[in-house]
């Protein structure tokens, strides 16, 4: 056959397609595995097998690692929104809406999402790298030999800690974002603090808070579940640990964005 001598058409396309198919294959495998891990973790949780000590260790780890950066991210997000709308709305005589607008954006979207981003980058990546290293160093096999289920020991406390810490962190970050907006509204838009806070108070409804908390809990569960599953399914060496960590971060971002849309649709699409 003379196929060797013929120039290949679109050689890069073929490579790209192969890479995409391989990534899709890995994605489907990970999703299946994550669903299996979730089911196993739920069964352990319902039978009271969550170790309080490990849960508290993980909760402390998430708080210490990610709270600072999520506070900074949301504080500045609130300031940016206020910066963009305060002057304009004041000029239009609608200054009393600045607080409402900032608080709605912060509570419904930015606080849970920015907290999620912080947790993905600081905690999800650490989970994935830690568990991938444990896997390639046979530490996970050692757990199995000692009759300890890795899902109970490694995944359950991380998922529970993440699902409970993210809502708590979201409350704090939302407060930071609203305060950031208030400070900027005062200096740029000339709005006094009382008017701003009154506007916030008028706008914020209980379902905004519930929605934000549910979003944060779902994001926390998704981030921890995906990161730990990707870590535990790592094979190979140090290069694969790096690939798993990157994959955990990218897929957590994507999963969180999809969940954000779905939850926003459920909680907020018909509200106004």
């Amino acid at each position: 056959m003379n196929s060797r001598s013929q120039p290949q058409l679109f050689p890069l396309t073929r490579l790209l397609v192969r890479l995409l198919l391989s990534e899709l294959n890995a994605l489907l495998y990970t999703l299946g595995l994550a669903a299996h891990h979730l089911k196993t973790a739920c069964l352990y949780f319902l039978s009271g097998k969550l170790s309080l000590k490990q849960y508290l260790e993980q909760a402390a780890f998430i708080g210490v690692d990610a709270l600072g950066i999520s506070l900074i991210l949301t504080l500045f997000s609130g300031m940016v929104i206020a910066l963009q709308v305060a002057q304009e709305l004041t000029k239009q005589g609608a200054g009393e809406l600045v607080g409402a607008l900032v608080s709605m954006a912060i509570l419904r979207e930015l606080a849970p999402v920015m907290t999620g981003f912080a947790v993905i980058s600081m905690v999800g990546s650490a989970y994935s790298a830690e568990l991938a290293t444990m896997t390639i160093q046979n530490q996970v096999d050692a757990l199995k030999v000692l009759h300890v289920n890795p899902v109970r020991y490694l995944i359950l406390p991380r998922v529970c800690a993440s699902m409970t810490m993210l809502p708590l962190m979201t409350i704090l970050t939302a407060m930071a974002g609203i305060v950031g907006g208030m400070v900027i509204s005062y200096f740029i838009g000339g709005l006094n603090y009382n008017n701003y806070l009154e506007s916030v108070w008028r706008q914020v409804q209980p379902h905004d808070i519930y929605g934000a908390l549910v979003k944060a809990a779902v994001f926390g569960g998704l981030i921890a579940l995906l990161s730990t599953t990707i870590g535990l399914s790592t094979t190979g060496g140090s290069r694969e640990v790096g690939i798993s960590t990157t994959r955990a971060v990218v897929w957590s971002f994507i999963a969180m964005s999809i969940a954000d849309f779905v939850l926003s649709f459920i909680f907020f699409s018909g509200v106004s």
Binding site: Q137, Q139, D141
Partner: protein, 249 residues
Amino acid sequence: MAEQPMIQLENISKQYDGRTIFGGINLSIAPQEIMAIIGPSGCGKSTLLRVISGLETPETGTVKLADNNLTLVFQYSALFDSLTVFENVAFSLIETPDINTHVAHHNYSEEQLRAMVAEKLELVGLGDIQDLYPNQLSGGMQKRVSFARAIMSDPKIILYDEPTSGLDPMASTMIEDYILEVRNQTQATSIVVTHNLSTIHRVAHRVCLLYGGKIQWMGTSQEFFESDNSYARQFAHASLQGPMALRNI
């Protein structure tokens, strides 16, 4: 042997990505026996150990164990690096569920656990290192801590995956002594995967030589060093001439 075997492998085969690692493996190991599994690198010795321990599922065949209280000492120790030596060694008592009740043994006080850990560490020649982390220990010490962790639950079957690899000859001799000591103390049946002729000579009762996916030779350790079998002779003399091809090693 009239005694019921502690470990019995019947027609075990294992494949990876369509490639047969080994096939038709039949092996029977008596209680308290120490069996050495030897063979060139990549012949499937560690995989066979993983199949026996239940970490891998064989494509065909069955593994019959007379007692499920089994442990595996990993080649690179596999200590939990975020836990202290104390937490590593006591791990099976703190976290492992009881085989019957499925509840972790939480009824020990920390003082009791520390005393039990100290006893096991003493058995492998280690002193007061309970509060150190694995990365603060030498390779030989890590290996001995992994021995202590393995014997904490008084296993009836102990599998050793290349216990002397990466150690100097004196440390290797010490590890061999501990394998014998642990066997004497626990009366456990042991399988030792090794390349080390000294380990075969000093520790093993019987030797099983694996190559090309099959058991090529089996006999006592004394027979191994005196055998005319071409595989056993090549391995015992570390020779490049023989049926085991260098390209496959």
